[in-house]
Amino acid sequence: MPEPLVEVKDLHVEFEVRDGIVHAVDGATFTINRGRTLGVIGESGCGKSVTAKAILQMVPKPGKVTGEIVYHRRVRVDGSGETVEHVNITRLDPDGLEIRKIRGGEIGMIFQEPMSSLTPVYTTGTLIGEALFLHRLVPVKKVGDQVAETIQETRHVTKEEAREIAIDMLHRVGIPKPEQRVDSYPHQLSGGQRQRVMIAIALSCQPAMLIADEPTTALDVSIEAQILDIMRELQETVDMAIMFITHNLGVVAEMAEEICVMYMGKVVERASAVDIFYDPQHPYTRALLQSIPHVGKKSRERLSSIRGMVPDPFNLPSGCVFHPRCPEFMPGKCDRIVPTWTQIGENRWARCLLYEEV
């Protein structure tokens, strides 16, 4: 039985700007299980990244977050082992102590742009060390404390330890000569190496979950393959959950066990990866899958494309937001009634009037 790690319930994120209100995320509901990978796919502007930022309370101003994000934190209790504590992240102060412990420490994040998300004036060792000083605790060994279970006190890492851990992390993400690279600045590294450093920073604090926001989009296929491999390998060794955000259907097929498909701030379908690719239910998912060219298939055929464009976020269509582009548009229904989140099978949900009695 998979154990939930982060439960997102009816999440809304709104931005009130001069031209009106943008509903960047509009009622997202999903669960990320411990040690598993959830893929989130959708086109740009569909709310993938904002959802990820909401989980870490990093939604930029003037964003307003409502709904619930429940983080199941494992806590060690004296004598009786572990219990699970529920933290509602949306209620936390975005600058408070609590979220700062979670952000980077218990939930790590990798950003899309390895070029611009590393501070250019620090060496990789300093960058990894920064996370370590904030989050990594090592047990204090006192005389007489022989058994690991009895160790109660912890302390922050020292400078020397941080450097050692940094070298070890660089080695684990496959950077050659980590003893030298720990003193390199980001501009001395290639794009793939920078992304590895990002991964090393995110994983150095042994998070329970990693949010990867388009981690390979800026990279070449050969480097992408290396990075995906490293992420999978590390996931196995540390039992970490991954929320993998991408628009690349090939990447998500390889990484994710479960997939959420987003369109205009709404999760339109959620199912296992196999179901999404072999038996998609929502018309948007189907259209998306048909519009990509497949390597190895006969070339020179026309692609089936989704007609029209992504609608203007200030001026959303009535009813189902996908109806103007939908091949299965039902006049009189889809343009009037907003579809609800409906369970359509075992462990799969969709937001479409095809599966509702109206």
Partner: protein, 347 residues
């Protein structure tokens, strides 16, 4: 190395031994201390009405190669033969060496060759209206002004799927896909024969990407265009191309018909690149070849075959001698010492 290239008479563009080196300058006197060999002795050809895909990792010289062909960069060496009617007084087709043309002749040739750029945001001047953007090439070449030009622009706009009322708008009023359509309309304004498409869909979303690819194919049929399609997305390139050339560190590793290349590669780099493409199929058991290390540095490439430090099949000769780019099978060119003996896996 491309003798039979001349045998075919439907060759539109024939590039031989093209080189583009960017000097590295150091010190007060700007002494040249080395060269970035962005394009290093490549040969390829484009037949009339076909699409040649150019793939490779970033920094391999795809874009430089296409820019050097139309002399946006001055070639360091090599010949670029292009078939055109623009330079002969009687309007007959002839092969001209683009590299030897002067400024005025080059201007005439540029009516025949145009380019679609990667970034639909930065390649359109934000202070020009759609009409000005698309009409600019016509103005430069003295091809129509006033209402006539407007009619042409409207026709082009409609052809790429935009509407008449868009003509007075500015680029910021359009989405990424629409902007790319404006870029395509501009490229077609002078009725070119050859269009260089430099990553035309890589900045677009999946659904918009499909629309744009379909549009490019329709236009090719309607206007009898040839494309050189530069991209890093292998599935897109296979979809749109008749033939594909794979580049690695300034050189062409392999060039063949798209389906042949994808199903029966002869170069280990092509094989590794194919296997690295993530397949949109969760049940697919990947047997990926993970290439070791990073792409070679074009200013300081390894000796012998540039790919040998990352190649699983490398033997002694690969470290010493540079492989020749040869036609191993009809219309299948490869630069690998062991191409004839290796059994490589396609997609």
């Amino acid at each position: 190395m491309a003798e039979q290239v001349q045998a075919g008479d439907n060759i539109l563009l024939d590039v031989k031994g093209l080189k583009k080196y960017f000097p590295i300058q150091r010190g007060l006197l700007h002494r040249v201390v080395g060269n970035v060999k962005a394009v290093d002795d490549i040969s390829f050809f484009v037949r009339e009405g076909e699409t040649l895909g150019l793939v490779g990792e970033s920094g391999c010289g795809k874009t430089t190669a296409s820019r050097t062909v139309i002399r946006l960069y001055e070639p360091t060496a090599g010949d670029i033969h292009f078939k055109t009617t623009k330079l002969s007084p009687d309007g007959k087709e002839q092969m001209v060496n683009v590299r030897e043309l002067n400024r005025e002749q080059m201007k005439l040739i540029r009516q025949d060759i145009s380019m679609i750029f990667q970034d639909p945001v930065n390649s359109l001047n934000p202070r020009m209206s759609v009409f000005d953007i698309i009409a600019e090439p016509m103005v430069i070449h003295g091809r129509g002004t006033g209402p006539e030009a407007e009619e042409t622009v409207v026709r082009l706009l409609q052809r790429v799927g935009l509407r008449r009322e868009h003509i007075r708008r500015y680029p910021h009023e359009f989405s990424g896909g629409q902007r790319q359509r404006i870029g395509i309309a501009r490229a077609l304004a002078l009725g070119p024969r050859l269009v260089f498409c430099d990553e035309p869909v890589s900045a677009l979303d999946v659904s918009i990407q499909a629309q744009t690819l379909n549009l490019l194919q329709d236009l090719q049929a309607d206007f009898d265009l040839s494309y050189v399609f530069v991209a890093h997305d292998l599935s897109v390139v296979q979809h749109i191309s008749d033939r594909v050339a794979v580049m690695y560190v300034g050189k062409i590793a392999e060039m063949a018909g798209a389906d042949v290349l994808y199903n029966n590669p002869l170069h280990p780099y092509t094989e590794a690149l194919m296997s690295a493409v993530p397949k949109p199929d969760p049940k697919y058991e990947s047997e990926r070849i993970i290439m070791k290390g990073d792409v070679a540095d074009p200013s300081n490439p390894p000796p012998g075959c540039y790919f040998h430090p990352r190649c699983d099949y490398a033997i002694d000769i690969c470290e010493q001698e540079e492989p020749e780019f040869r036609e191993l099978e009809p219309d299948h060119f490869v630069a690998c010492h062991r191409a004839h003996e290796l059994q490589l896996r396609g997609v």
